[in-house]
Symmetry: C2
Subunit: 291 residues, 2 copies
């Protein structure tokens, strides 16, 4: 059995996942602006009080990035209280278990590969398209966290040399064009869900905003295929829930951008794990990351 922790800017979740990938119990707390470690410790105490805790062999953590897997520290953009915070040491001290840390996109990829839409795929990118755009890579049948634990940051590959500024400091990143935030901002809306409703009602500006997002994602997937030779992309997150509104134009644009003999057959699939992807993915890290 594995203990799993999912660190996000809005909430922190912890759970127990069995070796078959079933989430047995889940606890969750809002991410406090101050002393967020207290929330993690409270969640861990809940897990430790569980009669099944004795069977836990290791702890996996997927965290909002950036992280530093080598040092075991995290500095999530959206959790300013934590900069180079030694999360691995702190969790290890509480649990007395080996701890594996990676970025949340990497964890999502590990989870989809273990139990979701990337099962059986040896070479794939898994993406989360939500308020931001994250991701992780499966290469040669194995997770590729990279030395920093942040590999797969497909939201920050540049698809417009002279494009709009990105919060990361660069410009023209996939995220600043394709995220739910960008879909809403382009039409002055408040959320991608609202824009999706307008698009379904036939509003051409709303449709165009989804199309622009789909175009950036298609170029990013084609670029990933050219660079690392993948067979498929798996897409989850809130924006992916728009279904054909996103996947329809995405598959069309992919035909335009993926033109090489070894990229043109890349396929696109919705993610399968939904809201539990973070915890199942964190547990999957323990199985997949070579320590």
């Amino acid at each position: 059995m594995y203990a799993a922790i999912d660190i996000g800017g809005t909430k922190i979740a912890a759970g127990l996942v069995d070796t078959g990938g079933e989430l047995l119990v889940r606890h969750e707390r809002p991410t406090p602006a101050e002393e967020p470690m207290a929330a993690v410790e409270a969640l861990l105490e809940q897990l430790i009080a569980d009669p099944r805790w004795g069977r836990v062999q290791a702890v996996g953590i997927g965290s909002a990035g950036p992280i530093d897997a080598g040092k075991g520290t995290i500095s999530p953009v959206n959790i300013p209280a934590w900069r180079d915070f030694p999360l691995v040491d702190r969790v290890s001290a509480v649990t007395r278990q080996p701890v594996t840390l990676a970025g949340d996109g990497v964890a999502m990829a590990a989870g989809e590969h273990w139990r979701g839409a990337a099962q059986g795929l040896d070479n794939a990118v898994c993406m989360v398209v939500s308020t931001g755009v994250g991701g992780g890579l499966i290469l040669g049948g194995k997770l590729r966290p990279g030395p920093s634990g942040n590999a797969g940051h497909i939201g920050h590959i540049c698809v417009e040399l002279d494009g709009p500024p990105c919060p990361c400091g660069s410009k023209g990143c996939v995220e600043v064009i394709a995220s739910g935030t960008a879909i809403a901002a382009r039409v002055g809306g408040t959320s991608a869900i609202e824009v999706a409703e307008s698009a379904r009602a036939g509003d051409p500006r709303a449709l165009a905003s989804f199309d622009r997002s789909a175009k950036a994602l298609a170029a990013a997937i084609a670029s990933t295929a050219a660079l690392v030779d993948i067979e498929a992309a798996v897409i989850g997150g809130g924006v992916a829930k728009a279904g054909d509104l996103l996947f329809g134009p995405l598959r069309e644009h992919l035909k335009e951008y993926a033109r090489l003999s070894f990229t043109r057959d890349v396929t696109v699939h919705p993610a399968a794990l939904g809201g539990d992807a973070g915890l199942i993915g964190a547990a999957a890290l323990v199985r997949q990351v070579e320590v």
Copy 2:
């Protein structure tokens, strides 16, 4: 000892490389428009006639792409006579040796990792910037040819969603903005070498053309770092011979595009192997590709 073959659109080379990475002998022929296999066979006969042939254990081939490593076939864009040509079977029949095939960018990366500027690096992209833009990846200390043998095609990642059309059929590819061909075309010149001379004499249009190429390469390297987590980029090929004219603006632009905690320290280095990179790289494939 390894036999090495380097297949290009202009010339085909073959040689013997010892297990220390020294090129012992090199033969070369222009690539014939018709029956190019006859040229390969003639080169192999020259190698087989060499008294050292008896010590050859394997043959490595780096070929202009695209190739299909799984099928052992090649379909180089610039050698129309070969489409799905079974090069591995044909070379194997002549040499009676195991044959390893990969794209020329992958071979270059293998060579620079073995004996050149990427020695000792565990995570790097190696690039050739010439009439086109190619490349290969070293990930986790090992070559990443990918299932097709074409991974590392950094010249065909998209850096301009609505950019100029690329011969590959996509648009805004790095190659169509950054290649020597593009550098010359932007100022109506005949070659990047000529544009480099004008730039050194202070011609602002020539300088701007190199700057544009450097910008696209910087965005591509930053994107690669975000996606696969690399520590360095190694750049060879004719355009890299322009030296500071390319590397100066490239390093400046990299500061703009590589802004994440795990990408901002990526370094850029000139390739070390020069004209023998193709053959040494082809030999390096035999050592690195897991068959």
